[in-house]
């Protein structure tokens, strides 16, 4: 579904990503785990085309996407949920969803606002509320719902649990599991190993822009050495 090879990226002169390689199969939940500033968000931005990589190959459903514009990548079925949420604060919940709306994708059950409201019940209760007057947790739900409106086949979730209350984090775990059941692939970025362990099938550990470890989530959970070297705070 998603395959990245030899990905390098720079901000100005700073070399941020070095030969990042990863894959995600259909229906798989993969986590990219690393500390602050490791390069998780940068990887996500390269995937969706907001940052042009300096070299490397990104393939989505076998198609090269590393030179495409963000909208073209999104239309192929890659959904992006940014870390900073980037809700349209002047727009209502319904209007935010409208911006994300794209035609149905063959083989996937299409998302409608109503179907999303069963997934995120509290959003359904504030359809006409402007995005700017919602809590952080509600906004996080709305960004995910907005991206799902595009009927993506694979979703990039950049630190969805960041700054959320424990109940909301639980809801997030449920959501990701449901997406997996729907047959979607999810590439998740996280600092929180505990959260990652609840949802992910496989994990990549990234540090200073390099992939340091690759394995199943359960293997990582048991590998004290790797966790001590790259993840402990």
């Amino acid at each position: 579904m998603l395959r990245v090879d030899g990905l390098n990226a720079h901000y100005g002169r700073a070399h941020i990503l070095a030969d990042v390689a990863l894959t995600a199969a259909k229906g798989e939940v993969v986590v990219l785990i690393g500390r602050n500033g490791a390069g998780k968000s940068t990887t996500m931005k390269c995937l969706i085309g907001l940052l042009r990589p300096t070299s490397g190959e990104i393939r989505f459903e076998e198609k090269r996407i590393d030179r495409l514009a963000p909208h073209a990548i999104a239309r192929l079925g890659l959904g992006y949920v940014p870390e900073e949420r980037r809700i349209f604060t002047d727009l209502t919940v319904m209007e935010n969803l409208e911006v994300g709306k794209r035609p149905p994708r063959p083989g996937l059950q299409p998302w409608t606002a109503e179907r999303l409201f069963t997934l995120f019940p509290n959003l359904g209760e504030m359809r006409n509320r402007p995005g700017g007057r919602m809590s952080g947790g509600e906004q996080q739900m709305l960004t995910i719902a907005r991206t799902l409106m595009g009927n993506p086949a694979c979703v990039l979730l950049d630190e969805p649990s960041e700054g959320l209350a424990p109940v909301i984090v639980e809801q997030m775990v449920e959501t990701i599991r449901k997406l997996k059941l729907e047959g979607l692939s999810v590439l998740l970025s996280e600092q929180n190993l505990h959260f990652a362990a609840l949802v992910a099938d496989r994990a990549y550990v990234i540090e200073k822009g390099r992939i340091r470890y690759e394995g199943t989530m359960s293997a990582l959970a048991e590998d004290e050495a790797v966790r001590a070297a790259y993840l402990s705070v």
Binding site: I48, F88, V99
Partner: protein
């Protein structure tokens, strides 16, 4: 004034406000989504006027239906023109620094002006009156044109329609979303390019429609582009960038205040006559200055609408390499001895180059190191020039003294205006400088008894020792070179370093206890003095001065020079001034439609060198050297 008079003026103001609102709404929409300040918006309005003139003149005399179809068709035609312009030009420069976009749209202004001149000729053209609305109605015993009543209704109707489009259509929702975060809209699968094209076409349509609606009221004239764009800027800024209701409110406010100034006419008070009708030219700028100082983001605007960096991001300043210093010294020496070899027109042209190199360098100091973009820098050139001319003519002060007093006068003007200006930033700051320049311009233009009004002043020649072209050439060369060196010195001095630090991270500068505003205020005053010196030299080299010296067009010339050369280096504005003066002279002498050629050259340069000429060369050579 009776109650009836007041009512009539109010109605007049409301009628005038409708067109203004349409133009401003288009400008605001375009800015909101594309972040481009479209200088050519007044030109699109003007195109609307001319196209509607031709259409209604040909087909619109018969029935109301024919007339209104013509008006609508003119709007649509301008919308189509906007569509094409966006695809051919703007689409290529969205990634360029904001100022280059501005420059490109200014190139468009020049092109459109000459196209209109070519197609319709220089005379004012008065279109037919609207069939079915040729009469007048009685309002409290006074007659008021029926057509104007209809216009009054058009404003709110269009406001309602725009609201519906933005709130009740998917396209409108996308536009509002993109106004807030266009990259996110792209990442959600929306093709920004077409969204931008659509918005630009809609904005152009609104401008064209605004123009077309004016046909029965006012003649089509060639200067409409500049007057309308400055009016529209004012409305948009007063209302708040990106706010359509704000633009509506501001258009009403300004339309009504203007109409009242005309209506009041001359008033006797305190033994003198105040002419309110003369005040009309500046009143909107006064309103804008007041609003910006009280509410820096306009009446209904939001602070979040602030655009990204207005100044081009630049690499840290580096001292010139040795070979370049030698090169400049050689060039200076060559210029010094040049008069031995030629007595020609070249010297006159070079004096212009020196003067404008200094002018452009002072603007560059403001835009580059100090991070403040001025749309009205010619005001200080003009104050210096007028001060010198007035001192010579009215007080018999010798030129030598005016070389110090002229810059002083300009510095005082900059000190006064600068106090307001440094309170703002970005596009708002630029607009306020424009407003002040316009105020200075109106004073020069209207105070016939003192400044000579639109004719200006003549007979301002240097004293005998500098009267020869050759001597004045040397004087200008030495003074301008000294000015440039001084500016360069200041850029590298601690003062310049503080300014640059403040520009790059105002918060940090604040945190380490630097009063950035005060430094900026001082910088504004300082560059005012340098521009004033250029102005003094300018007036003595020409022997005359007119209000054009400090008009908007002259300020834009300065911007073009700086941007042509590139903001990154001080060499930039000097090269830019040289290229600009020679180009203008060459083209103006050879072809009739020099403006269009100049405009096209500007557009091509922006497309080819988004970093400016010197920035481009430097990139080349430094890379080659590395």
């Amino acid at each position: 004034m009776t109650l009836a008079d007041i009512t009539i003026q109010l109605l007049n103001g409301l009628a005038g406000a409708s067109s203004l609102f349409l133009v401003a709404a288009g400008l605001s929409l375009i800015f909101g989504v594309t972040r481009i300040v479209n200088f050519a918006h007044g030109s699109l309005f003007m195109l609307g006027v001319y196209i509607a003139y031709s259409l209604t003149d040909q087909f619109g005399r018969g029935s109301p239906l024919a007339f209104w179809s013509c008006v609508l068709a003119a709007g649509v035609a301008v919308g189509v023109i906007g569509f094409v312009v966006e695809i051919l030009l703007l689409r290529r420069i969205y990634q360029a620094p904001e100022l280059f976009q501005l420059l490109a749209t200014f190139g468009l202004v020049l092109v459109i002006k000459d196209v209109v001149l070519k197609l319709w000729g220089p005379e004012d053209l008065l279109g037919p009156r609207a069939p079915g609305l040729r009469g007048a109605v009685q309002v409290m015993g006074k007659s008021f044109p029926e057509y104007d009543l209809v216009l009054i209704a058009v404003g709110p109707i269009m406001l309602g329609l725009i609201w519906l489009v933005l709130n009740r259509t998917r396209w409108g929702v996308l536009v509002r979303a993109a106004t807030q975060d266009r990259d996110m809209v792209g990442a959600l699968g929306v093709n920004q390019a077409w969204l931008f094209t659509g918005v630009f076409a809609l904005g152009s349509f609104l401008a064209g429609l605004g123009g077309a609606l004016q046909v029965p009221r006012e003649p089509a004239q060639l200067f409409l582009d500049i007057t309308v764009i400055s009016d529209a800027f004012v409305v948009v800024v007063v209302g708040g960038l990106g706010s359509i209701p704000g633009a509506f409110l501001a258009a009403l406010l300004i339309g009504v205040i203007k109409a009242f100034c005309i209506g009041i006419g001359d008033v006797q008070a305190f033994g003198t006559t105040f002419s309110f009708s003369k005040f009309t030219l500046v009143v909107e700028f006064v309103v804008m200055a007041i609003v910006l100082v009280i509410r820096p983001w306009g009446l209904l605007g939001k602070p979040a609408g602030e655009p990204r960096h207005t100044a081009a991001t630049e690499a840290p300043l580096k001292p010139l390499p040795g070979w370049l210093v030698l090169g400049f010294a050689g060039l200076g020496a060559a210029l010094l001895v040049l008069p031995v070899f030629t007595q020609s027109y070249l010297l006159i042209l070079l004096i212009d180059v020196f003067v404008f190199a200094l002018f452009a360098a002072s603007l560059h100091f403001l835009m580059g190191p100090a991070g403040m973009v001025s749309f009205g820098h010619a005001a200080y050139l003009g104050i210096g020039a007028y001060a010198a001319a007035l001192m010579v003519l009215r007080a018999g002060i010798p030129m030598e003294a005016t070389l110090a007093l002229g810059p002083l006068a300009a510095a005082l003007g900059a000190l006064l205006f600068g106090w307001f200006v440094v309170r703002l930033s970005g596009v708002y700051l630029a607009m306020l400088t424009l407003a002040f320049a316009q105020i200075v311009w109106s004073i020069a233009f209207q105070w016939d008894g003192f400044t000579g009004g639109s004719n200006g002043l003549i007979g301002i020649w240097p004293p005998a020792w500098a009267a020869e072209k050759e001597a004045f050439y040397h004087l200008s060369l030495v003074l301008c070179a000294a000015g440039l060196l001084a500016l360069r010195h200041i850029i590298f001095a601690p003062f310049g370093a503080i300014l640059r630090a403040g520009r790059d991270s105002p918060l940090r500068a604040d945190a380490i206890g630097i009063d950035l505003r005060r430094h900026q205020w001082f910088a504004f005053t300082l560059v005012g003095a340098f521009a004033g010196l250029a102005g003094v030299l300018h007036v003595f080299s020409k022997g005359s001065i007119s209000p054009e010296t400090l008009g908007i067009a002259r300020s834009v010339d300065g911007l073009v020079m700086v941007l042509l050369g590139g903001v990154q280096t001080l060499t930039g504005p000097v090269v830019g001034a040289g290229v600009f003066i020679f180009l203008q002279d060459e083209i103006a002498r050879r072809v009739e439609f020099w403006r269009a050629i100049l405009g096209l050259v500007i557009i091509v340069l922006v497309l080819a060198f988004p970093q400016g000429i010197v920035g481009f060369l430097r990139g080349r050579f430094m890379r080659a050297a590395a």
